[in-house]
Symmetry: C2
Subunit: 511 residues, 2 copies
């Protein structure tokens, strides 16, 4: 595909024209009644018009007027429907699944209880994006905007019945400019580390519903897949004591540490394993059955597998599941086989149109013909793990079907398609309840008729507030939301107390 087309397709419409300077067409083609591409950003609009002024007549895609009627009906009806499907007690079902081999007879058709659980874990993964501080003018860039006691409440996830017990931070010794978010400021909470995810535990009510105390690890992914492309070939590294090899980029994020840092004196691996081990012991001491579910999107899905491998190798007889979304290949066949031998159950959600799950293979298979001869080799070197739930953008009438890289890879697109998935042989289910608007949070995938703006997830005035003197200022972050290794250490004990008292959890739980 022509690059211009590619760029064209996965940019918000308002910027098409600016990104297609190469495409000139006769001015006469601009019809009087055809509204031009709109944007509320005057900078972009002036850019557009000045290019125009300088005889760079920019092509803007024709806009058809939207007939609301039927879609309004849809919206009206939908707007008064809860976004959460009812939860059923799955204690027994979960046990059956654990004893059965990988997700047999549950995926096609997708069993409703499993769909509900997959979305729950997907929302835990989504939280790592929604709460992440991307503001390079903030001294807390790369951290979580809320402390771990507020995270779920702030994101409306309390209803899932889990409580965050610990945050995980990661750094990398590999050059991953697209991964590590850094503040432009000199005085910053951390020069080396990023918030990379968290550990959470099911509360008593959720625990009884799902039939075990469920420890969740959610790994933040990245919207920039370049990091695992970096010198991929020569950097396949051993992992564990066997023949397992994994891509060194992921491994570097998972294992890097440096005594001179504030947040990675211990590695992400050390942090997560210490906390998971602590929790497993805590609840096993109480005679509870415990499980570990590790989730992540994109890069986060890759880290989830490394984490699962390590947990399965070090904690005996712990049921471990990996629920990943749009994750790339991570390691070689030995890695896959050892994971299987360790009893790790892995379920990979994959959108057919998403290229990321085809990486690292991608650049060899799809992009660079000259590499074709070694493609086979690479597909052999990098292989996927566990069961796959294949999703298709075309199954949803709410989605635009045009080429859209970020849209196809977006976790919210995954959750929407899972919510509507029944089986490979049937269409999008009509009683899917998850809010369709969420899909456009950070991309432009919804059909215009829905009238949901693209990339709408944004702060009012980018976080600036008008103070008493009439000045627009960046407010200081709440003291209890400022990252602090000590405070986060203490929180762990607060949790233990919390888990013994229903009262502490009740306010977190809403039906």
């Amino acid at each position: 595909m022509a690059l211009s087309t590619m760029i064209y397709n996965h940019l918000p419409t308002s910027q098409h024209s600016i990104n297609r300077l190469s495409i000139i067409h006769s001015h006469q083609e601009v019809a009087l009644d055809r509204p031009q591409t709109k944007t509320s950003n005057p900078a972009l609009r002036l850019t557009e018009s000045l290019s125009h002024l300088l005889h760079l007549h920019l092509e803007t895609p024709p806009k058809t007027n939207l007939h609301q009627s039927n879609w309004n009906l849809y919206s009206e009806e939908k707007h008064s429907t809860p976004t959460i499907s009812p939860k059923e007690v799955i204690a027994q079902k979960w046990h059956d699944m654990q004893v059965s081999s990988d997700w047999d007879n549950l995926l096609d058709p997708l069993h409703p209880w499993l769909r509900r659980e997959i979305i729950k874990y997907g929302e835990f993964a989504q939280a790592t994006y929604d709460a992440f501080d991307f503001d390079s003018f903030s001294e807390y860039c790369g951290s979580c905007r809320y402390n771990c006691n507020k995270l779920f409440e702030k994101l409306g996830l309390s209803r899932n019945g889990y409580k965050v017990s610990k945050y995980i931070y990661a750094m990398s010794h590999v050059n991953m400019p697209q991964w590590l978010e850094r503040s432009n400021l000199v005085d910053t909470w951390s020069k080396d580390s990023n918030w990379m995810g968290y550990v959470a535990v099911s509360d008593d009510k959720e625990t009884s519903r799902i039939g075990r105390r469920d420890i969740v690890v959610a790994w933040r992914g990245t919207v920039a897949p370049t990091e695992w492309f970096e010198d991929m070939q020569r950097k396949l590294e051993s992992f564990g004591h066997g023949d397992a090899k994994v891509e060194h980029g992921f491994l570097s994020i998972y294992t890097s540490k440096n005594d001179s840092t504030r947040y990675n004196k211990s590695s992400a691996s050390d942090q997560v394993m210490k906390e998971v081990t602590r929790l497993v012991e805590l609840y096993r001491k109480k005679g509870e059955q415990v499980s570990l579910t590790i989730t992540g999107h994109s890069l986060g899905g890759a880290l989830a597998l490394l984490n699962a491998y390590e947990a399965a190798s070090t904690i005996p007889s712990l049921p471990i599941s990996v629920i990943s979304f749009g994750a790339p290949r991570v390691g070689n066949i030995a890695f896959r086989d050892e994971l299987h031998q360790l009893g790790v159950k892995s379920l990979r959600m994959v959108i057919k149109q998403d290229i990321v799950p085809r990486m690292p293979g991608l650049v060899f298979n799809e992009s660079l013909q000259k590499f074709d001869d070694i493609t086979g080799t690479l597909n052999w070197v990098y292989t996927h793990v566990g069961a796959e739930l294949k999703l298709d953008v075309h199954s949803s009438r709410y989605l635009k079907h045009g080429f859209n890289l970020p849209g196809f890879h977006s976790l919210e697109t995954y959750l929407h398609l899972i919510d509507g998935f029944v089986s490979t042989s049937s269409t999008f289910r009509l009683d899917a309840r998850r809010d369709v608007a969420l899909v456009n949070k950070a991309c432009d995938m919804l059909v215009d008729e829905l009238r949901i703006p693209h990339c709408w997830y944004q702060m009012a005035n980018k976080g600036l507030v008008c103070n008493a003197h009439g000045r627009w200022v960046k407010p200081k972050r709440d003291i209890d939301d400022i990252p602090s290794p000590r405070v986060e250490e203490n929180n762990v004990h607060a949790l233990e107390a919390g888990m013994q008292t229903q009262d502490v959890l009740k306010p977190l739980y809403s039906v």
Copy 2:
């Protein structure tokens, strides 16, 4: 200048790389410690990284770490300073100015009381942007987001001591795709018209301070200057009864009407003249001295001159001033001379680096060498009117000085430079109080050290709100903010009542 550079410079930094696909550089150049351009928009970030993945290594401008220290001092100190300079009683001064010829001895150095007044009128013009509905998914796209009784309150302009009496709507028979904002929807408040400005009147307190009942007309401009470039030459049209000729694009917006429309059964000209005449008679009946001040930015400044010409021709002995910002040339020398004979006082604020005031001449002078031979002619055809206050981006240390078309043309940039302007021979005044952050509302002009995000003026989640069922929906507009010709007609009378009762105005006035 190369186009890429041009586009490069006036796009928000986060989009540089996407807009510079042509510029490839060696991958090795990406230094480990150099943070990449950031954006909180995952779509753009994935685009960026995938172009990268496909070997389109995008150039991103080097980012230097920002040393806060001195700037923090600046900020801390500034943050606790009111943004409004004290107002002095200027009744006498205004009379002197009216009898004296055009702004003599007031501009260089700029007299503090005049600076304060210019900024007041500039804020009235800025209001037409800040309250405009640009959302093409809204059925009210192209209207004002608030009704005229709420406008100043919503924008924090009540302190200026004026009350809006009427909104002005305009359409155009000329093809101006970049000017007219249209909804994508079929059912919309108006298919033909846009909110184009408003008429306001000083309240009693402000009236006594400034020495007359001041009627203000504020015209909305446009961030897209193409419309007056369209077939500029052959479309110079007669205006008034003399030799005056003006650019037909402006004239079309000012005079177009159509019986089949909701908002332009009468033209913008008819609407504004009817309201201004009504107000002049109303206050003259009360024995008050009345003045008319017409303001506008860009296109709005052009309309202000047409409006002034008509008002001066039809309302005898009414003191009329035009305060324009970054306005283009409008008409021929006869137009200028007649305006002068009619006693219209015009003051044009012009930023040296802003190209718009050099239009229509621009494309002939600056862009297309082949037209050089007729440049003189055109400069003669299109001429500026009245006195000019020349501003220079380089005078402010708060501004980036790199080429930035939208930044140079932005009204907020104008207001910032006026606030700091003392005289052509002296530097930016240190006691300038206007909030510097406002400059970046819709462009990227502030130096990074100030840590003000670019284009920060935006709604939370683009106006979507989470309803009781957990769904993100576009809320219906307040009933009293839905445009309605009848309601707006009635409002006029509400005002008259209002103007007689101090009580009605008091809440609108704050020091």
